[in-house]
């Protein structure tokens, strides 16, 4: 059997995508060609099977993730400001640590001085 049609036209025929003259050509070819009739039946079976099993629903968590509100600009700004304050406190604590130690040592010195004075009975 000579194939005066393009085999891919069988899919386009099934999909109703052929212009009228080519559709007519495919139809008249199908009347005389068992091989192409069989191929058309096979692609129809594939179509039916894919339509039955091809679609899969999105996981529920995916929709939840898309509906979760993104953090607002205000919230982001607040978080940034709080972070900066915390950082500043941390850094200032480090900067003042020597002075705090010096004041502590001074107080301890005064206490021990007073204690020794009391102890000596002066």
């Amino acid at each position: 059997m000579s194939h005066d049609i393009d085999k891919e036209d069988l899919s386009a025929y099934l999909d109703g995508e052929l212009p009228a003259p080519r559709r007519t050509a495919v139809e008249s070819h199908l009347e005389s060609c068992g091989e192409c009739r069989e191929e058309l039946a096979r692609i129809k079976r594939a179509q039916t099977a894919f339509r039955a099993h091809g679609r899969l629903p999105a996981p529920a968590g995916l929709e939840r993730s898309l509906r979760r509100p993104a953090p607002s600009r205000e919230r982001l700004g607040f978080a940034l400001a709080a972070g900066l304050v915390a950082l500043a406190l941390l850094l200032s604590g480090k900067a003042f640590k020597p002075q705090i130690n010096a004041v502590f040592n001074q107080i301890m010195g005064m206490i021990s001085g007073a204690a020794s004075t009391v102890g000596s009975g002066k």
Binding site: S11, A46, F50, G54, L56, P59, L62
Partner: protein, 170 residues
């Protein structure tokens, strides 16, 4: 302008396309999420030149192409499973056939998935757009960004491969 809810009503359809493009549920999740976030962001620019679903599918395909273009994505893709159903337990249930029917349906589904896994992602996408979404060839051209002749040949080849996989083994 469509609302975000109207957009999210298409999520199952976007996910199905993403799953067939990416080839596995984990990457499909990322791809569908990426595409939907892009669409939600771009919603004010949607002019209605194309149908909303066509616009969404185009965004999904472009997001997939961008991911595919990155070397790290290609590296990752080579290492992940191509089984879109994932583990055995995650196979979605079919519409209540009898025990024999259930077995046959499950077998034919597995054969179909195996054949789909062997196809190129663009072939699977063309099948989704034609068989499930009923898109015209011209719309598929616009969504996938490939010539009309390629759409025709991809669809025909993909259907023949699926048909071969579904034929009873002699």
């Amino acid at each position: 302008m469509p609302t975000p809810d109207e957009l999210l009503a298409h999520l199952d359809r976007v996910y199905t396309l993403a799953l067939r493009l990416a080839g596995n549920p984990a990457d499909a999740w990322d791809l569908a999420q990426d595409a939907m976030l892009k669409a939600l962001k771009g919603l004010p620019a949607f002019r209605g030149d194309a149908a909303l679903d066509t616009w969404l599918f185009r965004i999904t395909v472009n997001a997939w192409k961008n991911r595919n273009a990155s070397a790290s994505w290609r590296w990752w893709e080579r290492r992940v499973s191509l089984d879109p159903l994932g583990e055995e337990g995650s196979v979605p249930k079919l519409a209540e056939p009898g025990p024999e029917g259930a077995l046959e349906a499950d077998e034919s589904r597995r054969a179909l998935e195996a054949a789909l896994a062997a196809l190129a992602p663009e072939d699977r996408a063309a099948l989704v757009l034609r068989e499930l979404e009923n898109k015209s060839y011209q719309e598929i051209v616009e969504i996938l960004g490939i010539p009309m002749g390629t759409v025709k040949s991809r669809l025909h080849r993909a259907r023949l491969e699926l048909a071969r996989a579904l034929e009873p083994r002699s």
